[in-house]
Symmetry: C2
Subunit: 167 residues, 2 copies
C-alpha cells in the first residue's frame, strides 16, 4: 500500500469522498453550555464538495448550540472501520429550494413532515479540514495509516501530510 504522505491533495480528497459515499449516518458534535455533545445525523445524498448538509427542526438544541458557537465536527465510520473526521463551521439556513433539492422519501419517515415545513431548517457545514483513518478491520492499521488532511494557513501540519479543503 502506498503511504498516504505520497498522495496528492486530489487523491486524498478522492479517498475521503469515497469513504463517505456509502455512509448513511454521521455523527455531528457541537459545543453546548454543558460541554461537547454529539448525535447521529442522516447524511444527504450529495457528493462531498467541501460542504455537508443536514436537515433538522428549528427548535432543536443543536440549532441553539450552532447559533451560539458554529464550530462543529462531523465524523463517519463504515463497517470496515474506515473513519473520517471533518472539522468545520456550521450555519443555519432556511433555503426552500435547497430543502426541496435535498429532500427524499426517507426524510418523510424520519421527520414525519414535508420539505416545505417552515420549522425544518438546513445546517450547512463548511468543512475546512478532514482527517481519515484507513483500516481493514485492524486497529493497528487504523493507527498506523493515519493520514492528516487538515491544513490551513495558520496551522499547517506539514505540507506533505496536509491538505486544505478550501483550496
Amino acid at each position: 500500500m502506498a503511504k498516504d504522505q505520497e498522495l496528492t491533495h486530489e487523491e486524498k480528497l478522492e479517498k475521503v469522498k469515497a469513504m463517505m459515499k456509502d455512509i448513511k449516518i454521521g455523527s455531528l458534535t457541537t459545543i453546548a453550555e454543558r460541554g461537547l455533545v454529539s448525535r447521529p445525523m442522516a447524511m444527504q445524498e450529495t457528493e462531498f464538495d467541501g460542504d455537508l448538509w443536514f436537515l433538522t427542526f428549528r427548535d432543536t438544541p443543536k440549532i441553539k448550540e450552532i447559533t451560539a458557537d458554529p464550530r462543529v465536527n462531523v465524523s463517519f465510520s463504515d463497517d470496515d472501520e474506515n473513519y473520517v473526521s471533518i472539522s468545520g463551521r456550521a450555519e443555519v439556513l432556511e433555503d426552500p429550494e435547497k430543502k426541496k433539492d435535498l429532500w427524499n422519501k426517507a426524510f418523510e419517515t424520519i421527520f414525519n413532515t414535508e420539505y416545505d415545513d417552515p420549522n425544518l431548517v438546513l445546517i450547512k457545514v463548511h468543512a475546512h479540514g478532514a482527517e481519515y483513518w484507513e483500516s481493514g478491520s485492524k486497529v493497528k492499521a487504523a493507527y498506523q495509516f493515519v493520514a492528516n488532511l487538515v491544513g490551513d494557513k495558520e496551522h499547517d501540519l506539514g505540507k506533505n501530510e496536509s491538505v486544505n479543503l478550501d483550496q
Copy 2:
C-alpha cells in the same frame, strides 16, 4: 416498547452500559485551535462506571488539546445503529498501576510498545452526562426514541428525561 421517559435513572444507566458493552471503538472529539476534531479510539475493557479510559502517547495532538481545554465528547455506535453520546471532561494521567490494569495484548499491536512505556499516558474522561438513541436499523426509531440522559444542576433538561451521572 416502553417510552424511555418512564425508565428510572438506574434503568437508563443500565441501558447505556449495555449499549457500550460490546463496542470496541469510540470516537473522541476534542477542541483544537483549528476547530473540533475527532478520532477513533480503542475502548478499554472495563464496565462503564462514569469514567472512560483511553491509552495514547504523550506527544499526540489530543493530549495538547485536552490540556488546553478538557471538554470532550465520546460517542459510540454499534452495528444496530444504537448510539451513545458521552459529554465529559478529560484529564491526562501517568498512573503506572492503572496502565498495567488496563493493558491487554491488543495494545501491544496497536501501540507497538509495552504498558510501562513512559511515553504512554492515560486519558481519563469523567462523564457528566450521556444521551442515547435506540434503533433497530431504522433512522426513524433512532430519531423518535431519543432519550436524553443529560442533566446537571444548572442545565436540567427535565427531570423525567434526564439523569446526572454524577449522582
